[in-house]
């Protein structure tokens, strides 16, 4: 008997290999049109080619820069707003309805306004990433601050904590375990937004690459771009999970204090 983990991994690989083989076979047997859906072997060679000539990396770097700028602004503002509204009831009652009304609007619907407001440079793309990423950060931070353990706050207050120490040493770290999943979701949403934004108006980026390739009828490049988007999104999520474990070591045991 194999250990369960090896067995699971084995099944994962078998499943993936079977699908890729079937896909390859369908293309080879002319069941699917290789122009509309190029076979895996073709995609692999295109991927290698585009990595080799630097095209993929240039576009990926352009997209990553946009997502990071938009995401960092969203993370900062989302956390600031979440802490402020979580802490002060009046602020929450004043602003919460507006936030809840803006939240369901898909980030892509902001594109026309973004272009009108920010022109055609990188600014509208930062803005679209920001719009997509800010709400998950805000919602989780708000919930975290609202759910703070009153006893821990009392403990800090009777030990003489001022508002600054209370914020940096109690409120923020206590909220991190809930804020972090929000940040992770926000980065994922931001990544989707940047690609969507590049489809519409850009001269670089992975979204631009697949849009341009479509116009040139290079389906294999479209798919290669899509695969790169998937791989980078996966890597970013894994990176955030790693960071989460590093930054929240006390959560390791899942135990209560």
């Amino acid at each position: 008997m194999l250990p369960p983990r090896a067995k699971r991994l084995g099944l994962n690989l078998v499943g993936a290999a079977a699908i890729l083989l079937a896909w390859e076979a369908c293309a080879g047997l002319d069941i699917i049109n290789p122009f509309l859906l190029p076979p895996p072997s073709r995609l692999l060679s295109t991927f290698g080619e585009m990595l080799g000539n630097g095209l993929l990396l240039t576009h990926a770097a352009a997209s990553l820069e946009r997502v990071m700028v938009g995401f960092l602004i969203a993370a900062f503002m989302g956390m600031a707003a979440g802490v402020a509204l979580g802490w002060w009831n009046t602020a929450s009652e004043l602003l919460q309805p507006i936030i809840e009304a803006l939240r369901p609007i898909p980030p892509i619907a902001w594109t026309p306004l973004a272009i009108l407001w920010f022109g055609i440079g990188n600014a509208p793309r930062y803005f679209l990433v920001f719009v997509g990423a800010v709400f998950p950060v805000f919602v989780n931070t708000f919930a975290a601050v609202r759910g703070l353990d009153r006893t821990q706050i009392n403990a800090a207050l009777c030990l003489g904590a001022g508002s600054r120490l209370l914020l940096t040493d109690v409120v923020i770290p206590a909220s991190l375990p809930i804020i972090f999943p929000g940040l992770r979701i926000a980065l994922g949403v931001g990544w989707m937004c940047v690609v969507a934004a590049e489809l519409i108006a850009a001269q670089s980026g992975l979204g631009y690459l697949i849009q341009q390739s479509r116009l040139l009828l290079q389906t294999q490049n479209v798919l290669t771009g899509m695969i790169a988007i998937g791989i980078i999104g996966f890597a970013m999520n894994a990176g955030m999970l790693w960071l989460e474990r590093r930054l929240i070591p006390w959560r390791a045991a899942g135990a209560h204090p």
Binding site: L157, C158, L159, G160, V170, P249, R251, P257
Partner: protein, 270 residues
């Protein structure tokens, strides 16, 4: 700071009513409580659950305000938590994101002490509560008894005038509890701090207290007060002294009827 023997904390005609929610009637937690706590005294608030002893402690801490009456510290009305009165909570309330050492340093950091100095003071107190060697552990990595030792060190490190302890050993097993009672007895004698200690254990009350204030429930009020004429520091041998056993017996006899109704007829007299 007031001298030994003078009232340091005063509770004057205090009532506390918790507002009812969603049509539920108001809940009177305390009614007409008067209490004078002397500087350096070890005062125990003893009573069944629901007698308002924790509410009284929260009023002394400044976490809540009385509905009527006044709570004073050195003659000044208590309106908010203050570093002159630190609290040890039943559920420890350690900061899980800080190591044991950082937890104990918290109050010192709040006072703005330089890093070096607060590290030394914290380490000293950790050694007093016998936690040396556990400085870099996180709270989830140590036992309940050790957490409460750390919480005691955290509360006492900033050198408060009054230590408020809210059923600090309620969540611990019997053996750990006895050991920690002895630690607190030792620390209280060594530091001479004013301590207000909430418990529902008669043995704990008699072992630790200079004076025991017995409270009754519904509504919470002071029922009787007993001086404990046992020598300090309290050592384990105190438990076999005649005075100790007589006082425990007397408190049991006095409290049994009310506690029996509290625990309900279902549990019987066993």
């Amino acid at each position: 700071m007031s001298g030994r023997g003078l009232a340091q904390l005063s509770v004057r005609a205090v009532s506390k009513v918790f507002a009812g929610r969603n049509g539920i009637a108001e809940v009177p937690a305390l009614t007409g409580v008067n209490l004078e706590i002397r500087s350096g005294e070890f005062l125990v608030l003893l009573g069944p659950s629901g007698c308002g002893k924790s509410t009284l402690l929260n009023l002394l801490a400044g976490f809540t305000r009385p509905t009527s009456g006044a709570v004073l510290h050195d003659g000044e009305e208590i309106g908010a938590p203050d570093k002159r009165r630190t609290v040890v909570f039943q559920e420890y309330a350690l900061f899980p994101w800080k190591t044991v050492q950082q937890n104990v340093e918290f109050g010192l950091k709040a006072q703005g002490l330089p890093r070096r100095e607060r590290e030394d003071i914290a380490r000293e107190w950790l050694s007093v509560v016998r936690l040396s060697g556990f400085e870099d552990r996180y709270p989830h990595e140590i036992s309940g008894g050790m957490k409460q030792r750390a919480a005691i060190a955290r509360a006492i490190a900033p050198d408060p005038e009054v230590l408020l302890m809210d059923e600090p050993f309620g969540a611990l097993d019997a053996q750990t509890r006895v050991l920690l009672q002895e630690e607190v007895a030792r620390i209280s004698s060594e530091t001479g701090k004013t301590i207000v200690f909430v418990t529902h254990s008669i043995d704990e009350a008699v072992f630790l207290g200079d004076r025991i204030v017995v409270m009754s429930s519904r509504p919470g009020r002071v029922r009787e007060t007993h001086e404990v004429n046992l020598p300090r520091p309290r050592v384990p041998g105190v438990r076999v002294e005649k005075t100790y056993r007589e006082l425990v017996e007397m408190l049991w006899t006095s409290l049994r009827p009310e506690w029996q109704t509290e625990t309900g007829a279902a549990t019987g007299t066993a």
